[in-house]
Amino acid sequence: MTRRLPRPVVAFTALCFVFLHLPVLVLAVFSFNHSRYSVRWTGFSLEWYRLLLERQDILAALRVSLTVGTVSTLVSTVLGTMVALALARHRFRGRTLLEGLLYLPIVTPEIVVGISLLLLFATLRIGLGIPTIVVAHIAFSVSFVAVVVRARLEGMDRTLEEAALTLGANEVETFRRVTLPLLLPGIVAGALLAFTMSIDDFVITFFVSGPGSTTLPVLIYSMARRTIEPTINAVSTILVVATTVPIYFFDRLTRVRQPREGAA
């Protein structure tokens, strides 16, 4: 099967990869450009990164983003893992229905989720701020965590737990000392996913954040609408790096080692 690929197909594919990566690369490169106005390269400079440290609004937004990301990740990881355990290990009425409903937040357009939460908070007369953003982020993360942890549970060898039970461990001990350690990579992967989504989310946050609770993406959006300045490039580059690193680990944790299927 190691037939050579047709040249035009390979060339076209290479073009697609350029298309996928060029924009962000150009953006990142020009965050180190000396010139403020031109896209002509005038020399290497860390000026825009240094300026970031003086921008109180950017630092405040970063703090909000990290706070929201941490709290919503903790809560959604616990809730999502519990839902995954119930779905994988228990049979109960309405299980299939619940699984279907779990996927709904994943396919619902973000803008609809955003405005629906805005309407809920407005109806209940709850002021918008960090708590409302956290609540919203947990709402969209729980499903993703549940799906990721569930996938890990499906691939787990149940005989290990059975062995522990046979050898005299009770259910609690078995869960704590066998199930949980085996499940941990799935849980960590779910948490990384939730954190990245929280740090990245713009559309939903846009509707549920108040004047004093601007997250980094919301700030970048308002800056990008007003003007083009190298500080946006710099802060965007930081955001890209900050979200790509967790995903690299997510990728490594979820890569299931499967025995290669032979060409039977």
Partner: protein, 294 residues
């Protein structure tokens, strides 16, 4: 501690209780902060707009009727056309990419990683990167001017083409991944058999590879089409006021226009279109040839 343990051990003999305890917090959260809000949107879509932008109780269909105005139907049509074009473009670009990755041997993991990375790069940053490339004094125009190919900058930003490029740029990886998975699963002996039986490369592709990767194509089309329908950032930042899609219309009603009931009705129409797409996908999946062969 031991008391707590005994309690837990006792609970474990009540699997139903355990299941309920595990499910309750997560499902309650989803109920209160996902399903109830959607119901609130539905309720708002039937209410009347109040004097100061709020709403008054009552039941009216005026907002759905208002959406039937040619002005808004154009927005709906543009949304469906752009989402469909984006899906087709992603298919045309994504299929060869998936095909190459599936046969890339030792490069496979690296190429897959390169496809996944953009998916996890902030969508907002990626869209902003497109502005940086496309605007009058942007990267593309500067390069073209520097090369002497053009004198005046081309108008690239705030065009339908910019929105389409932004959508394809945003969702292409979602098309590549499922196609790659179905090509990876394809049994190579089928192709060998076809070759032995005298099928030419083109025939092998059109009659074996393509039909057998259809489930991946259908899944990819769905993964691209649904978010493209609800796109808000891309038309907002790359399309400007003239390239409004339903997502931007909804945002406008909750922002500047401050007509929450009409915005709610518009989002329900968007959800209806998404629902039709999902149902269409489920029907297509039922008829996928994978079940027949596999």
């Amino acid at each position: 501690m031991t008391a707590a343990r005994r309690l837990l051990a006792g609970l474990n003999r009540q699997p139903r209780l355990v299941a309920a305890a595990l499910l309750a917090p997560g499902t309650l959260w989803l109920l209160v902060f996902f399903f109830v809000p959607i119901a609130v949107v539905l309720a708002y879509s039937f209410m009347t707009r109040g004097v100061y932008g709020g709403v008054t109780r009552g039941f009216t269909l005026e907002h759905y009727r208002r959406f039937m105005d040619p002005l808004y139907l154009t927005v709906l049509r543009r949304t469906v056309v752009l989402a469909t074009s984006c899906t087709v473009a992603c298919l045309v670009a994504g299929y060869p990419v998936a095909y190459v990755i599936a046969r890339a041997g030792r490069w496979k993991n690296l190429l897959l990683f390169l496809v996944v990375v953009p998916l996890w790069t902030s969508f907002l940053v990626r869209t902003y990167a497109m502005i940086f490339l496309l605007r009058d004094t942007g990267f593309i125009n500067s390069v073209l001017v520097a090369l002497g190919l053009i004198r005046e900058p081309l108008v690239l930003l705030y065009t339908p083409g910019a929105v389409l490029a932004g959508l394809v740029y945003g969702y292409l990886p979602l098309m590549v991944l499922p196609i790659y998975v179905s090509l990876e699963k394809l049994d190579p002996t089928l192709l060998e058999a076809a070759e032995v039986l005298g099928a030419r490369p083109a025939a092998r592709f059109w009659r074996i590879t393509l039909p057998l990767s259809a489930p991946g194509v259908v899944a990819g089309a769905m993964l691209v089409f649904i978010p493209a329908l609800g796109a808000f950032l891309t038309p907002d930042l790359l399309g400007g006021a003239k390239q409004m899609m339903i997502g931007t219309l909804v945002q406008n009603q909750f922002g500047a226009a401050r007509n929450w009931p009409f915005g709610s009705a518009s989002s329900f129409i968007l959800m209806a279109v998404v629902l039709v797409a999902v149902l269409g996908y489920l029907r297509l999946r039922e008829r996928s040839p994978m079940e027949v062969v596999g």
